[in-house]
């Protein structure tokens, strides 16, 4: 009986302890070594093996996942440190989760994140360390990058060391185009030619445009508003639906509606996922796809045998825009958090990690045709057919600008893109959709 009571008490104690487990302390570190003293200038050497918590967007089915894993392994082998990787797939949910982790004090040591307005909450909260502060102790931190390409935060400081950039442009299925007797679009491709080509492709029984208007309408939105404005005015934000920029946005939405009404999108574009429509393109059932540089590796991994069936081309232009003008830039970079910086056991490890991940050698495994901030440029090894096609297309790019969606609040963006389906079906007008989104910015 006494044994039973003892056992019961022990069980209750274990339950109580398990309940409280994780409520205190910091993951992956020894608290006894964590007081850096005033100013955080403790120069104590890191422990033999430091466990570094890292969050990036190289999770899931990201095209650079393998390169990332190899780079992390290289860092671990070189330093003896361990990386606890909690990477995810970049989307609005992932961004919200990252920001929430910072709010709740469970942020990682190193974060690979957007350098746009998305990062402002953690910058303004003083949760990440600026590059100048890090360089005061580690002068060669990010020294292989062009400083002019480091993102500038609202306080005028640089916080992130840029990684590879991106471009968004038109992927074409050359096999489908050939079967339909349509030429691969060149840098002088016009909107009217595009509409005619789409009709030809549709009449042949193919889907002209692979796009999920439910999930990723932003690719077409960016180019359609550029078609109704200019490259220089791409990042202008409307103050109301009635001003010039608001009318430009509405005109862009109406262009998407026109494509929808002509039946150029997949039949299930309002219910399909991005993965489904990309699959449609990959399987040779659709002709055009606007996507980003990250999609190149997707095709290499999933359609390696038929890579020559795809090419990177140009998004059709109208108005003042030329087809050689595209969306692109460097929108992400590595941040070191204040938590890691203030932890002498992790400071060195975090700096080493970022330096390793942004070194010329490692960056060259990520960069193929993307924009890069490396002073020496990237040296990607042997481009495959699709990467070569991208490089050829990029050689004719006459202008690049970042996406306007990065310049508005997440709430505005979510509302605008969620209403694209309502605009194309006539449930609301383009002007109403713009007004609704702007009210949330």
């Amino acid at each position: 009986m006494k044994k039973n009571r003892l056992f019961a008490l022990l069980l209750a104690a274990v339950m109580l302890l398990s309940l409280l487990a994780g409520c205190g302390g910091k993951p992956g570190g020894d608290d006894s070594t964590k007081d850096p003293g005033p100013g955080g200038q403790d120069t104590q050497k890191p422990a033999a093996s430091v466990e570094l918590n890292v969050v990036t967007s190289y999770g899931g089915d990201d095209g650079n996942r393998k390169s990332y894993e190899n780079a992390v392994k290289g860092y671990e082998d070189a330093t003896g440190n361990k990386v606890q990787d909690a990477s995810g797939t970049s989307n609005e949910e992932w961004k919200a989760k990252v920001l929430t982790d910072f709010e709740t004090g469970t942020e990682p040591d190193v974060l690979f994140f957007f350098t746009s307005a998305d990062a402002e909450p953690i910058i303004q909260a003083g949760k990440v360390v600026d590059v100048a502060t890090i360089r005061a102790e580690y002068p060669d931190y990010g020294s292989n990058m062009r400083d002019s390409m480091l993102a500038v935060a609202s306080d005028g400081k640089n916080y992130a060391i840029p990684s590879s950039g991106f471009w968004e442009n038109m992927f074409v299925n050359t096999k489908v185009l050939s079967d339909c007797g349509v030429a691969v679009p060149g840098p002088d491709y016009t909107w009217d030619q595009f509409l005619a080509d789409c009709q030809t492709i549709k009449d042949k029984g193919y889907t002209p445009i692979a796009c999920s208007l439910f999930e990723v309408p932003h690719y077409w939105f960016e180019f359609c508003i550029m078609n109704n404005g200019t490259l220089a005015s791409q990042l202008d934000i409307p103050a109301s639906a009635d001003d010039a920029v608001g009318k430009k946005w509405a005109a862009g939405l109406n262009d998407i509606k026109d494509l929808y009404e002509r039946g150029f999108f997949p039949v299930n574009t309002l219910t399909a996922t991005d993965a489904e429509t990309v699959q449609l393109f990959g399987d040779g059932e659709a002709a055009f796809l606007i996507d980003g540089s990250w999609k190149v590796n997707y095709f290499v991994d999933n359609h390696g045998d038929t890579l020559s069936d795809y090419a990177i081309s140009y998004v059709p232009a109208k108005g003042e825009r030329t087809a050689g003008e595209a969306i692109g830039g460097i929108s992400m970079g590595y941040f070191i958090t204040k938590k890691a910086w203030d932890d002498p056991a992790k400071r060195e490890a975090a700096v080493q990690f970022v330096k390793h991940m942004t070194s010329d050698d490692v960056m060259s495994t990520f960069v193929t045709t993307e924009v890069t901030a490396l002073k020496n440029g990237a040296s990607p090894a042997g481009l495959n057919a699709l990467q070569q096609a991208a490089a050829d297309a990029n050689a004719n790019i006459t202008g690049v600008i970042g996406p306007v969606q990065d310049a508005v609040s997440p709430e505005c963006k979510a509302d605008l893109f969620a209403n694209v389906q309502n605009v194309v079906t006539g449930a609301m007008t383009a002007e109403e959709a713009v007004a609704s989104a702007i009210a949330l910015n």
Binding site: L16, L19, E411
Partner: protein
């Protein structure tokens, strides 16, 4: 007997056992609940962002509940789901329980088979049903085309079909749960009653009508209360299949709409107000269900 009375006289062990559970409830239920009430009156501009004082007016989110067309859609769909749950989940479970109860061989096998969907995670089921209802190359579309029942793919998630596509997996998943409860209830009915009824010529449908169903009433009532309250909480499976109100904002449920407002739109205060509405609805509906389906002690 002596030892148990000693146990109840000494309050120490009771406290030791109750404190962890109490702490757990306070930390993970009562505190978030109270905080949620506060949030619903506050002005919160983003997920994880601190509140910037109270809304102006402080009841603004609750007023918005009455004018939000998407919330009306969500409430309508949730009511339909609740009715479908009662009719189809409990109804099909009752029919299956009666059938399995009437066979001698293989009853245990059917119990396991029908209960199996319960142990699979809703997310996995959602992904599986996504493949079944897939537009291009989905199992259902392939089957229908091979049987010659349709000449082209059907978009099972469009405005004409989404209700069927959303509710079918939810119904299917929980039929087994009510089936097991009802089979257990059937096993508790004394066989002597059936034997006596059989001597009087009461067999087949009459046996079910006059003996089984009346004696199963209390168990059925419990199932119905569980079904009504459970339908209000359905979230995971529809979210995996119909996130963001697909199609065209017609597929919202109260749970999915609350999640979208809070986590995708960053509209945390309004999401909190919707959560409060769900709580109130849950309390009211469960009370109504408890009164309507009140078990009788004379059975």
């Amino acid at each position: 007997m002596n030892s148990s009375s000693t146990l109840y006289k000494k309050k120490g062990p009771l406290v030791v056992f109750l404190v962890p559970a109490f702490l757990f409830l306070v930390l993970y239920l009562y505190y978030p609940f109270v905080q949620n009430i506060v949030n619903s009156f506050s002005n919160i501009t983003g997920l994880g962002a601190p509140a910037q004082g109270l809304n102006d007016p402080w009841w603004a989110n609750y007023a918005a509940l009455f004018t939000d067309p998407k919330l009306r859609t969500a409430l309508g769909n949730t009511v339909i789901l609740t009715v479908c749950t009662v009719v189809f989940q409990v109804g099909i479970a009752l029919i299956l329980a009666l059938l399995v109860d009437s066979i001698r061989v293989g009853a245990q096998l059917f119990r396991t088979l029908y209960f199996f969907p319960i142990v699979i995670s809703a997310t996995a089921l959602g992904l599986m049903f996504n493949l079944i209802f897939l537009y291009n190359g989905g199992m259902l579309n392939q089957l229908l085309m091979n049987l010659g029942l349709t000449s082209q793919n059907i978009d099972w998630k469009d405005t004409n079909h989404f209700m069927l596509t959303m509710f079918t997996p939810v119904m299917w998943q929980y039929v087994g749960f009510y089936f097991v409860i009802l089979v257990t209830g059937l096993n508790n009915i004394p066989q002597d009653l059936y034997k006596a009824a059989a001597l009087d010529g009461c067999v087949g449908i009459a046996k079910v009508r006059y003996i089984t169903l009346p004696l199963l009433r209390n168990v059925l009532c419990t199932c119905l209360v569980l079904a009504v309250t459970g339908a209000l909480k359905v979230f995971d499976l529809p979210w995996v299949m119909f996130n963001a109100g697909m199609p065209q904002d017609q597929g919202w449920l109260t749970g999915t709409y609350m999640y979208d407002q809070t986590f995708n739109r960053g509209n945390v205060d309004y999401g909190s107000a919707i959560a409060m509405l769900i709580v109130v609805l849950g309390v009211v509906l469960s009370n109504v269900a408890n009164r309507v389906f009140k078990p009788r002690n004379d059975l």
